[in-house]
Amino acid sequence: MEEIAFFAGAIGALGGAIAVIALRNPFYSVLALIVHLISLAGLFLILYAEFIAAAQIVVYAGAVMVLYLFVTAYVGGVEESIWEPIPGQRFLAPLLAAALFIELSIAVVGTALKAVESTGPTIPADFGSPGSIGELLLERFLVVFEAASMLLLIAAVGAIVLAGRKRERETVPARGAGR
């Protein structure tokens, strides 16, 4: 049963990922990424990470990707052909990616760690539940939690700085006038 779930999730995640880089229209790429994220959330569930899975779907696949869709729609799905880049790079990039994959796989498969080669140790029933994650966040990782919230705040400020209240045509003639 677990195998079936894993392979279903894996096919979804991998298919989504490949679609992201293969599709020409960024709009479809975003949609593919959403598929990828939801499949990953499934895998997280199998790994007993309920809270992460929920956050993945609600926050990530839900909110962030919607923002992404809006921007893509606003900027316009700029069609770009994949097969026109600098000669060489398009051959080199897959090669590099393949080399990276092989290297990582060697590390993962070649490791002598017993824990990795098994299904994992027995774990308490509330492993990965919102309660136990929350407890960790507020006790051992309090600083991390606060820093992450600071990061969100500053990202919001940054977005406003970059994209917010900008009326280019009005500000240009106003140079020096509104001091």
């Binding site: 990795v116 991390v144 820093a147 940054g158 700085v161 917010g164 209240r165 106003a174």
Partner: protein, 509 residues
């Protein structure tokens, strides 16, 4: 469910708290007023925050304790790196006055946002310098990077600035993702996210496990992106050139200080038992960086690009100190970081001033004949260049001396020789700037004497604020240049300070 709030040592955490409050204050104060009044008020708050944080750091000097369930650790190394970051941020604030990107009244970035972003980046640096576990390390790295991406792109009118912001974001995120993957492997191999736990596990059976090795390699590559160590440096000159100059100054100096601090903790301490795994790799990175950076700087006509490549080379020099993996190495690193700040900031200040005074931007022609026109500025730039080249009588010489000593002491004499060779190559371009300053006549300006296209704002506004701006910037520049010479002649105070920082890492030989 029982919930136990962790024990919080507010004294040790005080610099972080001060900076956090500062970010919020700068944002709130920035909402009121506009133009000149806004600039003054926000700057008072911004500089006040930095001064308070610096004061609290000095108050905590000599402490060595874990904060908040072992996630952070405040010790002399962390404080030293934080102070370098704070000083460069404080230097950057006056530089940003009348900068086109922040001064435009109706534009997107006001002084409030600008300084909030700046202080937030300092906050990230403070946290990363204290980080004691992988998660805090990662989130702090982002906390320092994300504001920098925005600051680089903050001159939204200039295409260059936006491009540099996007480029920095993409490369920075690529680095983060690589680092994250490496950290994940380190976590997987050791089963712990705490540096102590990693150290304990690495000291055990996993030393030669492929999982750990690949993890270390990926983490080193990711950090090399952030430190602009070759061959992960390609973004550096572009981003340095495109970003507003005050931001470049801050980015060049402070980022290195903070990230090198965590590199010491991560490699020298957490991965200390696996020293044989990473030492040759980092040594190679350092050597490549020295050669590539210095060679790249040779033909550059843009001063910011030149300093960008020189930064690549200098990062290589500092990498040598990490490779030494000894107390002397950490001391040398801290000394060099402080020296690096003192040497670089005046150079960037002079570039900023000349960008506004001449139509040449950051082209080397902008400083032609500076020796006759503005002797004080010329002297500051000269001292800074000579110090970067490591000539005696400046803090740069002592810094190199310290680095070479650490390298030789750890049986990496060839890296010491690499530093010497790099310095030789670097003379060619540093001296080119000095020669331009003193030995060439001033470049002819295009007819009309118009202000450069990039220096926005009206002529009127520029002359109005010129007096104050120049005096403050000039004062700070000359102070830094004087310190460069002072600590070159009497280095003992700075050496003691650096040695204390080195001693605070107990795990090193």
């Amino acid at each position: 469910m029982t919930f136990e709030a962790p024990d919080i040592d507010y004294a040790g955490l005080s610099p972080v708290l001060a900076l956090t409050v500062g970010v919020v204050l700068a944002l709130v104060v920035g909402l009121f007023g506009s133009g000149r009044r806004q600039r003054i008020v926000v700057s008072i708050f911004g500089l006040g925050t930095l001064a308070a944080a610096a004061g609290l750091c000095i108050w905590q000097w000599g402490e060595s304790k874990e904060l908040i369930a072992g996630a952070l650790r405040i010790d002399d190394l962390a404080i030293a790196a934080t102070l370098v970051a704070i000083v460069s941020a404080a230097f950057c604030i006056p530089l940003s006055w009348r900068e086109e990107s922040v001064e435009r009244p109706l534009g997107p970035t006001g002084h409030g946002e600008f300084q909030a972003l700046l202080i937030c980046s300092v906050l990230g640096m403070t946290l990363i310098a204290q980080a004691q576990n992988l998660i805090a390390f990662f989130v702090a790295l982002e906390l320092l990077s994300v504001p920098l991406y925005v600051l680089c792109g903050s001159a939204t009118r200039r295409e260059q600035s936006l491009e540099s912001g996007l480029k920095y974001l993409i490369i920075g995120s690529l680095g983060s993702a690589t680092l994250l993957y490496g950290l994940a492997f380190v976590y997987g191999a050791s089963g712990s996210t705490d540096f102590d736990g990693v150290r304990a596990a690495v000291g055990g059976a996993v030393v030669d496990d492929p999982l750990l090795l690949i993890g270390i390699a990926l983490a080193a590559a990711g950090l090399a992106f952030k430190l602009s160590v070759a061959p992960f440096h390609q973004w550096t000159p572009d981003v340095y050139q495109g970003a507003p100059t005050p931001v470049t100054a801050f980015m060049a100096v402070a980022t290195k200080a903070a990230v090198f601090c965590v590199v010491v903790r991560f490699f020298d301490v957490a991965l200390g038992p696996a020293v044989g795994d990473w030492q040759p790799a980092l040594a190679a990175l350092g050597a490549v960086s020295i050669v590539v950076g210095n060679a790249g700087a040779l033909g550059q006509d843009s001063l910011k690009r030149l300093l960008g490549y020189s930064g690549v080379a200098q990062a290589g020099y500092m990498m040598v100190a990490v490779v030494a993996a000894s107390e002397a190495g950490v001391s040398a690193l801290v000394f060099y970081l402080a020296a690096y700040a003192l040497m670089n900031l005046p150079a960037f200040a002079v570039i900023t001033i000349r960008e506004r005074e001449t139509p040449f931007g950051d082209h080397i022609r902008a400083v032609d004949g500076l020796g006759r026109e503005r002797p004080a500025l010329a002297a500051a730039l000269t001292i800074s260049m000579l110090a970067l080249a490591g000539l005696p009588g400046t803090v740069g010489f002592i810094g190199k001396l310290f680095l070479i000593e650490a390298a030789v002491d750890s049986d990496y004499t060839w890296l010491g020789v690499m530093i010497a060779i790099g310095t030789m190559i670097s003379l060619a371009y540093y001296l080119r700037v000095v020669a331009a300053v003193w030995m060439r006549p001033a470049a002819e300006r295009p007819a009309g004497g118009a202000m450069p296209a990039i220096a926005g704002g009206s002529q009127e506004a520029d002359t109005a604020g010129k007096g104050v701006r120049c005096r403050v910037i000039l004062g700070a520049t000359l102070l830094a240049a004087a310190a460069t010479v002072f600590f070159g002649v009497l280095p003992s105070p700075l050496v003691d300070w650096a040695a204390r920082a080195g001693e605070s890492i107990a795990a090193l030989p």
